[in-house]
Assembly symmetry: C2
Homo-oligomer: 200 residues x 2
């Protein structure tokens, strides 16, 4: 059985990444990698679903033993990608999705150049602002900050393999799946197939 | 309107490339580039459909004026890709398919690095041999020669962007279209889209 694809997905807040991924994950062959964190669980959190909640001590043990693919510290809390589940699922032939912000994604790119990098774009910064405003949960100041952050993140999208505009949801989902499927048709991922046809 | 994609397709004889392309071309956005040649037309040939039939003089004029994208001489006859139709159709936003053998394809790769290269593979060399034998039109000696040639051509498939196995026709057609569609989602082909979102 051939190994699965490691798929790194980034998007600014408000691009509907969660909705796109929820649809994509309805397809059989995907596995969503749940991150680990030391931040305290919130009421809506489910351990092992939204995050793996670890103590600071456990997380540092994991780092020390090489058990995280990448990690970062934000606001005094660790966030990272547990390595074992990712490697196990890839070996089983599953396509593993890592939802990760741009800095983490670029770290993964250095560590796993064979991963495929997908960036979900808003149709425009204006649409992004409108979506954030519609949520009605944040002040104008926070929204301005988020749009500015989004701009900085989108600047990094040039370094991704694929960019998918989330304007129409079903189109974005279909584009995501096309990118994954086509990636599996690339010659560079089919060296052993060509070898076998040639009897090597 | 964005420019179309230049798609270079190669396959050894007996891989069903013609059948795959005939299906692919049923989709709207493709344009099949008809090659020019100086070989005399055969009864089944239609000028402008199977080839553009040119005199040696006309072909050499075309070469001299830079009117061919690439050309080669086989058995004393010129074969080449007229440049103007390709460029016109690309400007119209059409995806232009060049059906071309491996040497010609590699020349195009130097000239047009932005083209996408698709190689159609047989499921195995044995299947290829069987398909050639079933045609019943060639001697065992010719078939051996064709299989040996195919092997040499498949050796070049490592340098293509995508490899598509033509085992099941409808799957091969769908893979071809997925590769083309996904190629249009790559970040490197969407620089101006990202620029426009960023207001550059």
């Amino acid at each position: 059985m051939s190994k699965g694809l490691l798929i790194v997905v980034s998007a600014p807040s408000g691009c509907g990444k969660g909705t796109v991924l929820a649809e994509v994950l309805k397809r059989d062959n995907f596995y969503y990698s749940v991150s680990a964190t030391t931040r305290p669980p919130r009421p809506e959190d489910v351990d092992g679903v939204t995050y793996h909640f670890l103590t600071r001590e456990k997380f540092e043990e994991l780092i020390a033993s090489g058990g995280v693919l990448e990690y970062a510290e934000y606001c005094g809390n660790y966030y990272g990608t547990p390595k074992k589940a990712v490697e196990d699922k890839l070996s089983e032939g599953k396509d593993v999705i890592l939802e990760i912000e741009v800095q983490g994604a670029m770290k993964i790119k250095e560590l796993c150049p064979e991963a495929v990098f997908i960036f979900i774009l808003p149709p425009s910064l204006e649409t992004l602002r409108e979506r954030l405003e519609k949520r009605g949960t944040e002040t104008a100041e926070v929204i301005n900050k988020r749009v500015a952050e989004a701009k900085g993140e989108i600047e990094k999208s040039y370094n991704y393999d694929y960019v998918i505009v989330n304007d129409d949801l079903s189109e974005a989902v279909s584009d995501f799946i096309k990118a994954v499927d086509a990636e599996k048709l690339t010659a560079k991922r089919n060296i052993s197939l060509i070898d076998s046809i040639l009897g090597k």
